[in-house]
């Protein structure tokens, strides 16, 4: 069981999950715990000889019932695939899985925020190469989504909607768009090739999306992921973070701050990518200013990075 401690100076929770120190670390390919259990082969986490998509409770959870959840979401039984190379139908199915997990975990009283994410590449701390993501059910509202809700209040409406309008009007940082989703590098991106994928319509969560929107959102995410891999002609490490409305019935984490109905409309589904590479072989590190002062120093301009990423997306199409 993890322990939660409150860091008074940072005004944030820190999770101590010391059992995770012993988790599987970059195993040999033939001992991948996320591959299917094949006849005559080693027993893996998935006791079936083949599968499409699987979700299971993390063996080394940061959170667990009745104080949250930590799940592993395996995209495919193909060890060498990636989110970018999934068939479009599989990527669309994956978004339905995201939706189902958001709905089921969000209904639990012990979960205030459902966070779906993927860490890709050893550069961002991946310990298993098999294509997979994770789902955390936080027993509190984490700082980043809380800040996004604060931005809504500061701007007097949905912040992602306002930012999308600004990006579409400017156009220089937009790298991909279809009928339902737009991908752009934010005006104040922290990472050289950070990109956000936002739905054109206000949709607090995946539960508010129709079938076509899910399909087109999947298409936008895959187009971006393929573009990343094309950018430096190497698998691009990244963190992919799915931001949705909180599920705690409150809009800002304060008890009784807003009605459940208001909270259900707060937040705007969007997916953020944080790739740590600033060139093909140079990583952006979180150093003194970023860690000690909380201020990112960027070596690149989003407008210039957007030109390169837009070209890479077209090449990969």
């Amino acid at each position: 069981m993890s322990e939660l401690r409150f860091n008074e100076l940072r005004d944030e929770q820190v999770v101590y999950a010391i059992h995770r120190q012993e988790r599987t670390f970059l195993p040999a390919r033939d001992h991948c715990p996320l591959c299917p259990t094949r006849p005559g082969g080693p027993q893996t986490e998935i006791p079936f000889p083949k599968f499409e998509i699987v979700v299971f409770d993390n063996r080394f959870p940061a959170f667990e019932a009745p104080h949250g959840a930590a799940e592993v979401l395996v995209y495919t039984d193909d060890h060498d695939a990636s989110f970018a190379t999934l068939a479009p139908e599989r990527a669309e199915a994956l978004l339905w899985v995201w939706r189902q997990r958001y709905e089921e975990l969000g209904a639990r009283a012990d979960i205030d925020y459902v966070f779906i994410f993927e860490n890709r590449g050893v550069e961002v701390g991946v310990t298993l190469h098999h294509p997979h993501g994770q789902i955390y059910g936080y027993p509190f509202l984490p700082p980043v989504p809380a800040l996004e809700l604060a931005a809504d209040r500061r701007l007097g409406g949905c912040a992602p909607c306002a930012l999308l309008r600004r990006e579409m009007a400017d156009g220089r940082r937009v790298v991909y768009e279809n009928d339902s989703a737009v991908a752009y590098l934010p005006y104040a991106a922290r990472w050289a090739f950070e990109a956000h994928v936002t739905l054109r319509e206000h949709r607090p969560s995946l539960l508010d999306c129709g079938s076509d929107e899910l399909r087109l959102l999947a298409a936008a995410l895959q187009a971006l992921a393929r573009g990343y891999d094309s950018l430096f002609e190497r698998p691009m490490p990244y963190v992919m973070a799915v931001h949705q409305a909180p599920t705690d019935g409150r809009a800002d984490g304060a008890p009784g701050a807003r009605s459940a109905a208001a909270a259900a409309r707060a937040g705007h589904l969007h997916v953020e990518f944080y790739p740590p590479l600033r060139t093909a072989d140079k990583l952006k590190y979180l150093a003194g200013s970023e860690q000690g002062a909380g201020t990112f120093i960027s070596d690149t301009l989003p407008e210039e990075s957007a030109v390169l990423l837009r070209e890479a997306i077209l090449r990969a199409a």
Binding site: S2, E3, L4, R5, F6, E8, I18, H19, Q21, E45, I46, P47, F48, F51, E52, I53, V54, V55, F56, D57, R59, F63, E64, A65, P66, H67, G68, A69, E89, E92, A93, W96, V97, R99, Q100, E104, L105, R108, A109, D110, P139, F140, S211
Partner: protein
Amino acid sequence: MPRSAVAQLNVPRPPREAPAEAGLYPRDMAGNRAESSPPGGSESDPDAQQGEQRRPPERYGPLELMRTRKDDGRALILYSRSKDGT
């Protein structure tokens, strides 16, 4: 942190005493929230004994879900595109 220190942390610890100052250290995770069952049922669920015991498939949008449990009790859900293609 040296591994020996981690091993010490993993040694079962006695129950903590109530904090001298309410609201400071430690803060229990999720306070006094109502407990809820993990997805797929509780440990007393008869379907929760072995991975071979599965529930009937469920539908969710275009997906078919098959809930089961691993031998150690952890929940596992298999998702597949429904066979009728809807």
